[in-house]
Point group: C3
Chain length 353, copies 3
């Protein structure tokens, strides 16, 4: 599949450029852009992995922590530049719901069809559960509740303050995980796995860096044009900004990663699944989004950390659900079905809202 | 006690008929109807149990899963037919709060007076806890949050969609519990108990079926007239629709079952207690209520899945409370007191609201 | 440090009196009052401890349970008398957030710098977690949700009813902890520690009683004048009633206790830390506040149990967070950082709101 995605990305970029030049229809371009980004995201992911292996665990961890959601950051950046604040926030909602419900759900379900019970480290799951409550329930809910009666200026100051705390705490979490408590709370197969992975980088150092740079520029180019199609597509299919953000933009940046999570579940590597589903959520919520809020201070309009009520309630309930299902350190097909059911319910909701 | 209830049901039905014919006062009839339904519900419950034993575990499980809340379904059906949508939803709230707080609370409390600590299967409790979060916090909260700005048509479509997912997931839960993971997550005394019960059906196959059919018809008749008394009783005693639904209609359908839960706790059969308290809640939330929502599509007015805010917050907090108290697999008198305290607080709330 | 606080209290009281007589500026007096109360609270705490040791565990437990938050009760009483209902409720919010996030956070953090992992009794933590959900999420959320459409009279009746249930359940919790289940759910170091403490009362019985009486009268005097300065200080520094209540009044009553919690964490006595952080929260939420609501029935204006939305959401999310972090019976510096992060976020919120 990796190969197909590489080819798709090699084809997708020139086709996108052609479409821009010859002004092909927006809906068609929307689909081409989405597919291209999915493919490029996979290439970037693999480039990061290769480089991470070559550079050793410390810099590698850092690379993954910062570059892991590069595509999301880029799409959001261009949406922000185009003034589409609601879509940016919605795409983060979509990314978080997608990771917690769709990716974890599919992985648990597919893995559970093969294995009766799949287990992962309880302590790690609880550690992440606490962070999810912090990021989503404390840091995202507070601004909405407190800023109801606030003016724009104060709302933005509060959003910036919370963003700084989120980033600091994310960095502290990295310090905790990789330095002070390295291995203390982690499960076994995680350790083994990372050992195995270290042996085979897909690309050499220089090649990986070139690929990474090229693909990143390509994603930037495509994203820049993708955001221009949202309005037409939304109008054409009667989709709200919220739905486009949550259910489309929020997914494409991670699609390839999602597939590999399901594959990991099928190989019973549940630590890796949880790392992709929950770890990636934390990265988005505690690093990518706050960075973007701070970046937006340089732009107009600025982006406060104020989700809509449906987004907020969706994320909070998703966190409560995944926390309850994951903190027993055990998954099965039915757990997966529950998460998927929740995802579908939210999908219906965002369609009609 | 079973005998007294049988006699009460045999007396109650003709008295109800007499009251209808001679038009006795509404308040008196309201009391007669309620007592008769409590008695009939007990008879139906025992009839279902007998038939379930005779028919073997598979069909038996199915029978229990569908017939276990037949009385509730019937009362709700006639309330719906009478256009009393708010009372129907309130009665489901009452059934859920009654099961999670009153039944579990009384059982923990009474059982805890005899035993210092009573234990039940942790994994089963966690499994149910996840489903409670799914049904009550995801499936019930979403429609209220999402439909605030929706028109009636969309609200109903969303409610129907969520109902279908709830029913599918309930069926999946049965599949999980009785087929793919039979015995995997269950505690010991549950298995033993069901074995013991299988030995002694109260009634034979034919007798059970006749009793079941007769009692069901009787419940339908009484329920049909019960719903006509709500308005007069409410006006007379200054009770809101919400209070009548939550605190009266929501209780009578399960009253006999509640008593047997407390009795089970006294005999230290906590698996059975949890099955009645939490299992029954899940059945109501994931099967009976969604079925009714779908049935209502054939009627006018249709019933969307939109509880009032007090109902919703009541159910959500009840789920958080029972989940925290039950997922340690251990109960005592104080846990019971906490649940009862919560029930009383909500009772006060629904009285004044 | 105890000595410094004793001296501060001995100096603080006459200085306060002087300030009142010579009408020193309000802001200066506000600071003097706060410092004096912090010092007096420490003296009262040590007096209670001494008396508790002399009187034996039963009466001692009772003393601690009622006198442990005497200062808070006194300040609130005088705020209430001055009609500052919002500040009283805000100070309880502040006390609860301060205990759950600031005290536990600092303790976990400081303790975690010395020890890699610190553990405490899981069962006790779960027991407290259930009570936190009951008190904060059920008992505090319900009145706000239910009384939205209620008149003042009904709101007050409901508040009083809930307060009575809270007090009864608090007494039941004492019965559970000290009588029926004494030692059943408790950890080891708690038992040892109380033994050790029993050996060395700081003051004799009579001396402790005299000190207690004197300090209590002094706190009453200072508090009575402190509440008069709120308005001027708020206006001068642009602080809302909510901020003064949550972030200042809510802290000073417990400041000395907070320091000792951190000291306990440094000595790895985590049971004692949890007792101060969570136990004290429960005491405030289930005893001191409800008593005050009932007392307010004798005054005008009466104080209903209706927090503002930011207060409520702050407390609910704090409970969810501390429950997730503490029910694994294990803490580390990062858990502490998370709690502190949440406290700062809320501090920012209450500043701007």
């Amino acid at each position: 599949m990796n190969r197909a995605l590489t080819i798709l990305s090699i084809i997708g970029v020139p086709v996108s450029v052609a479409g821009v030049i010859f002004q092909w229809p927006a809906v068609m371009m929307f689909i081409i852009y989405c597919l291209t980004i999915i493919a490029l995201a996979s290439v970037i992911g693999r480039g990061t992995d290769s480089l991470a292996i070559v550079m050793g665990p410390r810099i590698g961890g850092l690379l993954n922590a910062t570059f892991g959601n590069a595509v999301e950051l880029i799409i959001s950046f261009f949406s922000l530049k185009a003034g589409l604040i609601n879509i940016v926030l919605a795409s983060f909602t979509g990314s978080i719901l997608g990771n917690l419900l769709l990716v974890a759900g599919l992985s648990f379900f597919v893995g559970g069809l093969k294995y009766k019970r799949q287990s992962f480290a309880v302590q790690q799951a609880r550690h992440n559960a606490g962070l999810l409550i912090f990021a989503v329930i404390v840091a995202f809910v507070m601004p909405v509740v407190f800023t109801e009666t606030m003016n724009k200026q104060d709302t933005m100051v509060m959003s910036a303050g919370i963003s700084i705390i989120l980033i600091l705490l994310y960095m502290a979490a990295m310090l905790f995980k990789f330095v002070t408590h390295r291995g203390v709370y982690q499960g076994k197969d995680n350790a083994e796995e990372s050992k195995k992975e270290e042996e085979t980088p897909e690309w050499g150092k220089v090649k990986a860096m070139i690929i990474l740079a090229t693909a990143t520029i390509a994603v930037a180019y495509v994203s820049d044009h993708l955001v221009d199609t949202f309005e037409v597509v939304g109008a054409k299919f009667g989709l709200s900004e919220l739905f486009i953000g949550v259910m489309i933009v929020g997914i494409i940046g991670n699609a390839a990663e999602h597939v590999s999570a399901v594959y990991m579940a099928y190989k019973n590597k549940m630590e890796a699944v949880m790392e992709i589903a929950v770890g990636s959520t934390l990265q988005v919520a505690m690093f990518v989004l706050p960075v973007l809020v701070l970046l937006s201070l340089l732009f107009s309009p600025r982006m406060p950390l104020t989700f809509t009520m449906p987004e907020l309630v969706g994320m909070v309930t998703a966190v409560l659900l995944i926390n309850m299902l994951s903190t027993d350190g055990d998954s099965n097909w039915f757990d997966g079905a529950v998460l998927l059911g929740a995802y579908i319910i939210m999908g219906i909701g965002f369609y009609f809202v």
